[in-house]
Every structure is written in C-alpha cells, then in structure tokens.
C-alpha cells in the first residue's frame, strides 16, 4: 500500500469525533503551556502520562502531538508581548517580536508567527509523511555499531553544544548516564547501583527524573528569582492581519526556516533552540532591511517561528522510525509509547498502522486547529499571563507530585523526585545544562546495549565499532567535535 492510501486511512482515524476532540484538547493545552513561561511540552506530557493510561493509545498520542505543536505556537505569543520566551524555541522571536509589539505592530508579529508556524508545520508534516516510511526501512540496515556511533555523536554534540562549558555539559551528561544504569542490567540480569533496594531494581523512570528536573528544579529556580513586579505587557495594537508588504517579507523566511528546522530537529541534541538561532542569523544576513534588525524586523519573527515548528515535526522522524529520541520532548513521547507496551520503530508501521498514520494525519488537523486558535483568539490566550505566579508555580509543584505518585504509587519515586529536584535547582543556579542529563539517561542504556551487542557479535574486536561506513563517519565526527576546538585553541596560542 502506498504512503498516500495509508495517510488517507490515517485521516479516517484522526477525523473520528473522539480523536478530533483529543486533538483539540491537546492543541488548547499546548497553546496554554506554550504561553506560560516555565512549563514546556515535555513536562506537560510527562505529567499527563499517569492519567492517559485510561485512554486508547491513538487518542493519547493525538493529544500529545497537539501539545507538541501547540507549545510552539503559544511560545511566540509570550515572546512577542512580554519579551520573555514562553518556550526555549521562542527565544529568538522575542528579539524582534517584542520590538514590533512596542512599535505598535504586535498584531502583525503575532500573525506572521502563527501563519509561519502553520506553513512550516504543514510542510514539515508533509516531509515527515513521505520520509518516515523510507527511514523506517533503514532500521533493517543499521547495525548495532551504527546505532552506537549515532549515540556517541549525540553525546558529544549535546555535551559540547549545550550549556556554558563542555566540562559542565559532560558532567550533566554522565550524571544522566549514571542514572540510566540503575536497575537490572538487561543483558546479564545483574543489579547495578540499587544498593539492595528492591524498588530500584526496576530502574528510575525517565518521567520521574524529567518531572523532577523541570517541575521541581526549574520552578524552585524561577521562584528563587521571583520579583513581585510582573513584566510589562505590550498591548496588541495594529491591524489583526498582515499588510501586503509584511507578506512579501515573510514568505521566504517561512520557507527558509522550515528548511533549517526540519532536518535540524531530526538530528540528536539540536532541540528547537539551535535551528531558531540559525534561522535568525540567516535572516539577518539575507534581509534587504538590515537597519530594521534589532528594532522590529518581521523577518526575524517569521524565520525562527517557522523553524521551531518544523523542528517539532523533525524530532518525530527518528522517534517514530528508529525509536531514537533527539530531544527531551521526544524522550517523553518515547516513554509514553513504552507505557503502552509499544516500541516505536519500523515494526510500529506494520503492526500498528492505525496509530502511526492516525498520529501523522492528526498533525495536519492539529495545525489547522492551532491556526484558528491562535490567530483570532490570541486576545483570550493573553489573559493566561495574568495568572499570579505564586499560585501557578505552587500548583505545578502539586500536580508534579500527584503525577509522580500516580505513576507507580511508590514512596521511593517521591524521594527520588525530591533529591533530583534539588539537584536540578543546584544545576540551574550553577549553569549546568539540563538537556544532557536527559539525553544521557535516555540514550545511555541504548548506547550501552548497542556497544555490547556490537562487541559480542564481533567477538570482542574493537575495530567492529568502525566496521561500517556510517559508523566510521559518525565516530570521526564525534572525535572531531571533541578535539577540534582544543586543537584550534592550541594552534592559535602558538601562532
């Protein structure tokens, strides 16, 4: 059966009234958490996990997809009106968007963000539709050594790229890998780092770590820096639509943002921040109005907003086809799949086509919903920003605790939450990046299993790790990523 027929069947699933409702719930929730600073899609999905076990998997994932896309839409609103990014992926939007809002062109900024998100989301979903089945077939060619090389490259790139220094990046990464090791070793059945505690035999659930770091750690951090004077909100002024000139200046950045965002999202470790930064830099270089940059150039909103939505679709490619998460949100989605006893990968395309294609079709539907929700109704959403912060953050903490308790009803989990949450706060204060912890926790066990499988199949010969062209290239890249900056520094010092 061709991709097209499968997609049509997917629409049959996505357009069922219950699934439409869950897509709407997800889109609304996603927009809301996108607008509120401090809560991201990863945390939201993690908190909803214990509740959604009562839902059919297809409905749950349609809702999660709505949250993922919706957060990217909503994040821009806060950036533009409040100059605080509601979402990490909307950081760049704040630069030009808030200037536009202050200059009375807020409505145009919001419109280009929403329409750009829609255009990018739709194009990227199309790319996902046609790329995914092809990539899924790759799973039959990728050997353990290739997977190990991919994870090794992901480790090096997150540790080097994220955070203020590579030492901090690697400390975070190894912390995550160490947490991932806890529990029964799947290959030998031996207990590791459990200190004789029966409950730890199961390992530490990703959701617990994620909720602890993002909800407890992050909120303690935000609260510790809380000032009672709220930020100044720029009123929405200007036409609620874009002028002909705004359109003319926006459409190219939308397409370029999509072209950057989609592939970058599919790469491990780049998340949604890096493609938006790249898009912003590119638009600044290409613009015909360089004097407007820094004062409210519409290109600086259109490009990054398209990029972050395209990246959101991009992360779904390796996740659905290879079971490989490339960001924190993707990692939680993976945990959600595993909660349902499903393993994303090529088999999901054959064993559960209704779920996969229903999910992909719902992305198209969700995009349309989000455009409607965000463009005319933006005035309502802004009211969310008036929720007093102390109540909001206290509320999130309470939900986080209920969520973690709901996972397994375990006191050990709550203790872990406290310890990891405090550690997350300390990490935030001393500028240790959080993302490498999660990448280490998720990809660490995978890297280990693949490394051991590759070595066992190769009878212990380490050369097996570079025995395929792909693995040789990726390992070389990883080494270069580590060594090149040091080497260049030396060279410069000698010169």
């Amino acid at each position: 059966m061709g991709t097209f027929e499968l997609l049509l069947q997917g629409f049959g699933v996505a357009l069922q009234p219950t699934n439409l409702m869950w897509a709407l719930v997800g889109s609304v929730l996603g927009t809301a958490i996108g607008i509120l600073p401090g809560i991201g899609p990863a945390l939201t999905i993690a908190l909803l996990l214990p509740v959604t076990t009562a839902l059919a998997p297809t409905s749950a994932f349609i809702m999660f997809a709505g949250i993922l896309y919706g957060a990217m839409y909503g994040g821009s609103t806060t950036s533009i009106l409040l100059n605080t990014p509601g979402e990490a992926g909307s950081m760049m939007t704040a630069l030009e968007g808030n200037k536009m809002a202050r200059a009375g062109r807020g409505a145009a900024a919001l419109a280009t963000a929403a329409i750009g998100s829609f255009v990018a989301g739709t194009i990227a979903t199309l790319c996902l539709t046609f790329a995914a089945p092809a990539v899924a077939e790759l799973a039959f060619y990728f050997k353990p050594t290739d997977y190990f090389a991919i994870t090794a490259l992901a480790f090096c790139s997150v540790a080097v790229v994220m955070g203020t220094s590579r030492t901090r990046g690697f400390i975070s990464l190894f912390l995550g890998i160490a947490i991932g090791v806890i529990g029964i070793d799947t290959m030998t059945g031996q207990a590791r780092l459990t200190f004789g505690n029966m409950q730890l035999l199961r390992g530490i659930a990703l959701t617990v770590v994620l909720v602890s770091l993002f909800a407890v750690g992050e909120i303690l951090y935000v609260a510790s820096r809380y000032r009672s004077t709220p930020g100044v909100m720029a009123p929405i002024k200007g036409q609620l639509w874009m002028t002909r000139q705004d359109f003319a200046r926006s459409w190219k950045p939308w397409l370029r943002g999509t072209a950057i965002g989609f592939p970058m999202g599919a790469l491990p470790g780049s998340g949604s921040e890096i493609p938006t930064m790249l898009s912003y830099t590119l638009e600044r270089k290409l613009t015909r109005y360089p004097e407007e940059f820094g004062k409210g150039a519409i290109e600086g909103v259109a490009g990054p907003e398209a990029a972050n939505n395209a990246a959101a679709a991009g992360i779904l490619v390796p996740l659905l086809t290879l079971g490989l998460p490339t960001s924190a949100t993707a990692a939680v989605l993976l945990a959600a799949f595993q909660n349902y006893g499903l393993q994303p990968g090529p088999f999901l395309f054959t064993s559960n086509p209704a779920l996969i294609w229903g999910l992909i079709a719902s992305l198209y539907v969700g995009n349309v919903m989000l455009l409607v929700l965000n463009l005319p109704l933006v005035g309502i959403w802004v009211q969310l920003l008036r929720i007093p912060r102390p109540q909001l953050y206290a509320g999130i903490l309470v939900f986080a605790m209920i969520g973690v308790w709901g996972l397994a009803g375990s006191w050990v989990d709550l203790t872990i939450m406290l310890v990891v949450g405090l550690a997350g706060y300390v990490m935030r204060v001393y500028d240790f990046p959080i993302a490498p912890v999660l990448i280490g926790l998720i990809l660490g066990p995978m890297a280990e299993t693949q490394l051991r499988t590759a070595l066992a199949a190769g009878q212990g010969n380490p050369m097996v790790l570079v025995s395929t062209p792909l693995s040789a290239i990726l390992i070389t890249l990883a080494v270069l990523l580590l060594a090149l900056p040091i080497f260049l520094k030396r060279l410069r010092a000698h010169a």
Binding site: L29, F140, Y141, M187, G189, L201, N339, G341, F399, Q459
Partner: protein, 318 residues
C-alpha cells in the same frame, strides 16, 4: 484543563480506594501494564466474570521488574497466609529467580493452575546459507563464537531453548555467543541486518516477518507442528530432542487456607473449560496449556530443576 485532569486522577484514586475496600480477591501482576502476564491476569478474571464462575470484586496490583521476582517478593510480604490472594507468573520467573539470586522459592507458594503457553521458533535471515536446523547446528558447531545467537533476556526461555538445542547437538553450552535483545522485534531486526546468525522468539512475533519474506523459520519447539505454521518442522523432527514452551500460570499465597485454595483451583479448572476462556485464547493467540493444582506444583519443581541445570551449564549461575 489541568484542574479537570487532576479531578480525574483523584476520582480514579478514590475509585481504586473504594475498590480495594470491597474487593474479594487481590491479584498481583508482577509486570507493567500491557505485557503477557498483565493480560493473562485481567483476561482470566474477565472471562471468569463473563462465565459466571467468579463475579466478585478483583483488585489488581502491577509491580513489574526482574522477571516477576520484584512483584512476587512484594506478594510474599503482603499476602502470606491470606485467603483470596493470587499472583500471575511464568516460565521466565523460574530462570530469573536463579539468575538474580532472588530469595524467592517458588515451592513456598501454592500452585493454582498453569493456563497458557506460547511455543518458540528459531529463525535465520532470508538470505542465510542455512536452510534446516541441522545446517544451522553444524554451522554453530564449526565456530560457536562467530555464530551470534539472540532472543529475549539472558536466562529466559529463548536462551534456555538455545542451550537445550546446543546440548542436543553436542555443542558446549558455555561456548554459545548469546546476545539478549530487548524485544522480539529487535531480534528480527538483528537477524535481518546480519548482527545475529539466528534468533529465537515466540511464534506470534516471528510469523508475520516470515510472511513478509524477511526471515526463514527453521523449527518450532512444540511437540507437534503448529496449525498456523504447517511448513515449519519441530525440533524433534529435525533431530534434536528439545521441547519447551513459554508458559504462564497462577499461584496462591504461601500458607493460604486449604478450603480457599481448593476453591481457586476449582474456579480456574472451570474457567479452563468455559467458552469465555476459549474465546480469550483465540483472540490473544495463546495455546491452552492447562494443568491444575498439585500437578502444576510438580511441573514447577521439574522446570526449576531443568532450567537451573541449563543455566549452570551455560555458565550463567554457579
């Protein structure tokens, strides 16, 4: 939205709480929701309810991990001496206890019934030079280290079936290069991409990939050919006296009162004969493998002995 979600959680918790108060039987499912043990427990009680054998309340607890040993340890602690306390377990638990040095002794529990089984198949890649089980065994024998074999977790039924095959083919079990895979799907991928020379998994997991022409099924571990795989010979037909199944069953708490224990053995015996249960077996693709009370106890003792010996031979336990 958050608030309504929380209310839902609270309502669910409240429902569970009141459920626990009126429930008449507590069932330990020592696995996470969604797996084979989880569905055996839930489906069995659903069918019992449908057939009118037992219509009272049921309180399920899911405690996954380590082949069921984590859940059984909890069951041992909370349910010993209690009536109406049951636990699901299976062939994998037997190996896991030996492997993890778990303090659990299956002989302490009261065996209620063996319910289902799934037979295993051994497969090679579609383009593999091996076309029969004998070819494969000869290939492994020539250089055991180079013939990477795979299946489920170390010491699990997949591993044990390969160990039995090696013994039957005069290959030292400790020489096998066994690489555990996380799922049947992973095993197929590894066979297709050439990481594994051969792999073992449940018949239901491999059949669809054989149909797609990605793998060849060489033999099945049942006593007779499976109706859904008429072209696949048994290990015995291929010349290796190996018969093993991934079975699942029900235990009662250690020291459960005699009359209550007898009632549950009776309930499950009735269940195994009911149409409702036959429908479940059909829908789930499970084999009927019923064995009641005392006979099941003898079977468990036998399996413990057999698997323990194999794991020793494989060098996995001392």
């Amino acid at each position: 939205m958050y608030f309504s979600k929380t209310l839902a959680v609270l309502a669910m918790t409240a429902a569970l709480g009141t459920g626990a108060a009126v429930a008449q039987v507590n069932v330990m499912l020592p696995a996470n929701p969604g797996g084979g043990w989880d569905s055996l427990g839930r489906q069995a009680f659903q069918a019992m309810n449908d057939a009118g054998i037992y219509t009272g309340g049921v309180n399920f607890t899911n405690t996954g991990g380590a082949g069921g040993t984590v859940g059984l340890a909890e069951f041992l602690g909370t349910a010993s001496g209690q009536p109406d306390s049951l636990a699901v377990f299976g062939a994998i638990t037997v190996g896991a206890i030996a492997l993890n040095n778990s303090p659990i002794n299956l002989a302490e529990f009261r065996p209620v019934a063996r319910m289902t089984a799934e037979y295993l198949v051994i497969a090679v890649a579609a383009d593999s030079p091996y076309n029969t089980l004998a070819d494969l065994v000869a290939g492994i024998k020539a250089d055991p280290g180079a013939a990477a074999l795979g299946g489920g977790s170390a010491g699990g039924v997949d591993h044990i079936s390969l160990a039995l095959l090696a013994q039957a083919g005069d290959i030292p079990v400790a020489d096998l290069n066994y690489i555990p895979q996380t799922s049947g799907a992973e095993t197929v991928t590894a066979i297709v991409n050439g990481t594994l020379v051969a792999g073992v998994s449940g018949t239901s997991e491999f059949a669809q990939f054989a149909e797609q022409g990605r793998i060849k099924l060489l033999a099945v571990t049942s006593a007779e050919r499976r109706p859904n795989l008429p072209d696949v010979p048994t290990f015995k037909e291929a010349g290796y006296d190996v018969e093993i199944a991934n079975w699942r069953g029900i235990l009662a708490a250690p020291g459960a009162p005699d009359d209550n224990y007898a009632m549950w053995v009776d309930n499950f015996t009735k269940l195994s004969q009911s149409d409702a249960w036959k429908a479940v077996l059909e829908a789930q693709g499970w084999e009927d493998y019923f064995l009641p009370g005392g006979e099941f106890g003898a079977f468990i003792a036998e399996e413990t002995e057999r698997q323990g010996q194999i794991l020793k031979d494989a060098g996995l336990v001392n």
